[in-house]
Structure formats: C-alpha cells, structure tokens
C-alpha cells in the first residue's frame, strides 16, 4: 500500500469492521466451526489455543482468501507470526493485500 493511503482517516473504521465480520463468516462457514461468527473474539489467537485452529484450518483459510480476495499466503512470509495472532490482524492483512 502506498504512503498516502496509510492514515486511518482514509480507511474508515466501519469498513475494517465490515471486512473483519465478512472474514469471520467465511472462516466459520468454510471450516464448519461450532461457533457463531460474531462470537469470535477479534483479538484472540487464530492458531492453537485461541480459536483452536490447526494447520489444516490454516490451509483452508489460505484457499478461502485465495478464492475470495486473490491473496496467496506463503509460509515463509515474515509477517505470518503477526497475521495469525488474531482475526483483527488477519483482516488488516487481507485489506492491505487483496486484489479482488
């Protein structure tokens, strides 16, 4: 993303929340999770203890965001540690990287 697009006022908070909700719905539906999308704590870890996702789920999420937003996840991406810390950070990454 270019410099001038970064300030938060150009990306209304409401859009970020909408994307977060949309991703939560896609994940819950795609992974058949026994939880309602709005019950996912946006700050809780996606992997391991938090939402309890495992590596197969992460692969499923990669397929979901590839189909939906045209994003290719890579295991050697240095940002992965941050991306998967929470739904909020993941949604932020999708907003930055999406090509559709």
């Amino acid at each position: 993303m270019s410099e001038h697009a970064l300030p938060t006022q150009t990306t209304p908070h409401i859009d970020a929340l909408a994307l977060e909700r949309e991703i939560a719905q896609l994940i819950v539906k795609g992974l058949n999770l026994p939880i309602q999308p709005e019950h996912i704590d946006p700050e809780a870890a996606l992997y391991g203890e938090g939402l309890g996702l495992d590596s197969i789920d992460i692969l499923e999420i990669a397929l979901i965001v590839s189909k939906q937003y045209g994003i290719q996840l890579r295991a050697d991406n240095k940002e992965n540690a941050r991306i998967f810390t929470s739904l909020r950070n993941f949604a932020r990454y999708v907003a930055e990287q999406r090509i559709k």
Partner: protein, 458 residues
C-alpha cells in the same frame, strides 16, 4: 546377515539433496553424518523431530551408523511423549528447533553444530557405510485401540526392500535424475519412505523444505531442477487445484495417506501434465501397492507381497512384510498381484490423511476426569471443506464440564486434527441393547442438539 548400503549415490559429487535450490553432495552428506554420529549421546533410541528433511536424513543416517533406533510416533502430544519415555527410557530428541517443545533430553542438529552445514574435506575418501539388513532401524507407531500407541519394529533390510520396490513403479523415470519434493513430514510413515528412504536408496535428491501453502509448493518446485517429483496427499493436491496454482513442469506426482477420488486424479493429471501414482500402505505394512488412479481401479501389489483373505479381513505377507499382518481396510484380491480397495473398517477414521481409530479416540475422551460417557463419530450430514476435509463430531455426557474444558483436555492427548467439531454435551448416549451407538441415532441426536444448542453450529 547381509549388509545394505546407507545410500545408493555412488559418486562423491552426486546430488543427494537440495536446500533452497542449492545442491548438497553425497560426500557432504556422509561428512555431516559422521560429524553428527560423533555427537550422539549414549541412548539407543532417537526421536528424530527434525523438520528440515535434510537434517532428518542426516539424523536417520547417523542413528543407523551408530546402531541406534529411530522412534517415529505419528503425533507428539504430551501424552504420547510420556508413553514413549516409558517405552524407551533412554530416548533423546534430535531436533533442528532450538525451542523444541518436546519434554525429552535434547540434541540440537544443524544450527550451532558443525554438522549439516559444515564443510567436507574434498580429499576425504568416499566410502558409503554398509548397514546390517537385520538391524532395527525404526519403531513406527499406530494409535491402537487401547489408548496407548502400538510400536511396529522396522529393520533396515525390510525398509530398503520396500522402497526399492517403490522405485520399480517410478519407471520409466530414472530416479538418479530426479529431485523429490514432499508436502508430508519425514516422521510420517509415507513421508519416511517416499521422501527420505526413496531418494537415499535410489540415487535421487531429496528436498529439505516441506512446503505447505499452494504458493509455497510452486516456489519450492521452481527452485528445483528437472526432473521434478512431487510427493503429496489428496488434501494438498485438492488445495493446489482449488487455488488454481500454476506449477513448473513435473515428471511425476505421488499421492497417499487417504483415498484419492478418480476424478480428482484425472483433474490433477490434466492440469499439471504429469502422471499421478497413488500408493497404498499403512504404518504396519509400509507401502505395498500402487495404481494409476486416473486410469485404473485395481491396485498392483509390490513384488512378492500377497494377500490372503480370512474372516472378512485380508492378511498381507511376503515381500518386505516380515510377518503376516491383518490389513485394517476392506480389500478384495482380484488375482495374485492385484486387489480392489472397498474402504475402511467401521472403526477406522482418516482425517486429512491422518489415521486413528474411534476406539482410541473414545478411550482418551472417556479418560478425562468428569466425562461419564462419550463417543466420537463420523458426521455424514456435512459437506467437505475446500481442501476436502470433514471433521469428526463427539457426543459427551459430562454434567459438570463445559465443552471448552473437554477440548482442552483432549488437545493434550490426541492429534488436533481429530478434535471434535462440534463437541455436543448430552444427557445420555443413545446406546442400543448391545451398548453400541447406531449411526442414524447419532445423526438424529446431533440434529436435535443443533436445534437446542444452535451456537455450536455454523
């Protein structure tokens, strides 16, 4: 007893591995093996936890030349590690992760040590170690039904015989010209055979990386020279197709761990322009048959392996199989060398290529303090995901526990892939007069619970 060479590479400069696309020679490998062998502690059992496949191969070879046995459990939960410590009290962990979470004495491989990344004296003599065919090379484990992992001993001779049979099925490929990339871990029986032993015993080059996402698989393949071979699973192959991932020219794709539907096999072959070979095997028997799934339904047994039906099951024997082993799947022999696979016996489950039994999972569920009764089952009322995976469900009677607590307790005991989705609390299980739980009652109860506990369902 006869001896068999550690590797089939017959020249010092023969490429035995690639790491990030950079070749590693057979001479370097043998040098790394000797260096690591000199550092190994006294214990006779090595839990080889190395994620880097080259480190794993060096660890395996160093264990072989020092007469140590590799311990290869299918999962590494605290419960399994506790069991392994009882099984082999001298076991130590060889790992390439400085933060290795396993509660075992640790030896770090490939990071600070000279081994693995060190340089080898170009003037050194190139001599391939010979390993006694009868030497115990590895213990692999199945989950069993009593809740404790069941060990299966593998001698060096039988392992070599098995992968040499596999080599004959790669024809007309010349393995010595192949670079083999695996998406499966080296510790899993299929990965152990096809991504480690197969290259070592055929003169091919293994690839140190284990790519995960579709884009990773493409990048790892691009870093390799031709001829490229991809050792994978239905989950990863489906993921590649779903992501519409482009790949460089492949000579061969191999799939195992779960049945590959013929239409998926045809799609993979036409999308990637490569032959797809499916392999049939189990931890107990090792690999034992192959087929070209896009074109044939019958499986072709490894040379010398035979099936004998008895009591509705088949016993596999001969070839690399040391003693007759009852195969857990339902097989129908269709001639001396062929069979048709009709599916699994009811107790076995396969989730994303990992196998277990309902009896094993139920044992661990019912061992949780506060669980009065509980049963895992396979849901037949849900759609598979994008990667083609359907999870298990569980019904549990535990008036004083909440589902999150039970999941937490299960996480320490069973592989995460088998964690139930959903786990439903019920007042009692609908057991029939013989104590069994008929599938239709389970499905009905799940549907009923879905109405009463809608928050547990998507």
């Amino acid at each position: 007893m006869s001896a068999l060479p550690l590797i089939a590479h017959d020249r010092p400069a023969a490429v035995i591995a690639y790491r990030r696309g950079r070749p590693i020679s057979a001479a370097q490998f043998l040098h790394d093996v000797q260096a690591l062998a000199a550092q190994l502690p006294a214990g006779a059992h090595v839990l080889n936890f190395c994620a880097d496949r080259y480190c794993f191969a060096v660890g395996l070879a160093a264990s072989l030349v020092t007469g140590k046995c590799s311990i290869l459990p299918s999962t590494h939960t605290p419960e399994v590690i506790r069991h392994l410590r009882a099984f082999a009290p001298d076991v130590f962990c060889l790992s390439d992760d400085p933060q290795c979470p396993l509660e075992l004495p640790q030896l770090l491989c490939g990071q600070s040590s000279a081994a693995v990344n060190g340089s080898w004296p170009a003037s050194g003599r190139f001599q391939v170690p010979q390993i006694d065919a009868g030497q115990l090379a590895a213990y692999v484990f199945t989950s069993g039904s009593s809740g404790t992992p069941v060990p299966h001993p593998k001698t060096w001779g039988r392992l070599v015989q098995c992968v040499r049979a596999e080599v004959t099925r790669l024809a007309p490929l010349n393995p010595a010209e192949c670079a083999i990339l695996g998406t499966v871990p080296a510790q899993h029986m299929y990965g152990f055979e096809s991504t480690v032993l197969l290259p070592l015993q055929s003169g091919a080059a293994l690839c140190a990386e284990r790519p995960f996402f579709p884009a990773d698989i493409a990048a790892a393949l691009r870093a390799l020279p031709q001829a490229r071979v991809l050792i994978s699973t239905p989950v990863h192959l489906r993921a590649l197709l779903t992501a519409e991932q482009a790949l460089p020219q492949l000579e061969l794709i191999v799939s195992a761990t779960a049945m590959l539907p013929a239409n998926l096999a045809r799609e993979v072959e036409s999308r990637y322009g490569a032959k797809l070979l499916e392999i049939y095997g189990s931890t107990e028997t090792g690999q034992m048959a192959s087929r070209r799934t896009a074109h044939e339904a019958q499986w072709w047994l490894w040379p010398g392996v035979r099936l004998t039906p008895s009591d509705g099951h088949c016993s596999a024997h001969g070839g690399h199989i040391e003693r007759p082993i009852t195969v857990a799947d339902v097989l129908e022999p269709t001639g001396d060398e062929h069979f048709v696979l009709h599916g699994r016996t009811a107790d076995l489950v396969n989730i994303a290529g990992k196998r277990s039994s309902l009896a094993y999972l139920n044992h661990h569920l019912n061992a949780i303090p506060g669980v009065i009764d509980g049963a895992f089952f396979v849901r037949d009322d849900t759609q598979a995901s994008l990667a083609g995976v359907t999870r298990l469900a569980a019904l549990v009677v535990a008036p004083r526990l909440d589902p999150a607590h039970i999941i937490q307790a299960l996480r320490a005991r069973i592989d995460a892939v088998f964690l139930p989705r959903p786990l439903l609390l019920v007042e009692h299980l609908p057991r029939n007069a013989t104590g069994k739980l008929p599938q239709h009652t389970l499905t009905a109860l799940t549907a009923q619970a879905a109405v009463q506990q809608p928050h547990l369902f998507a």
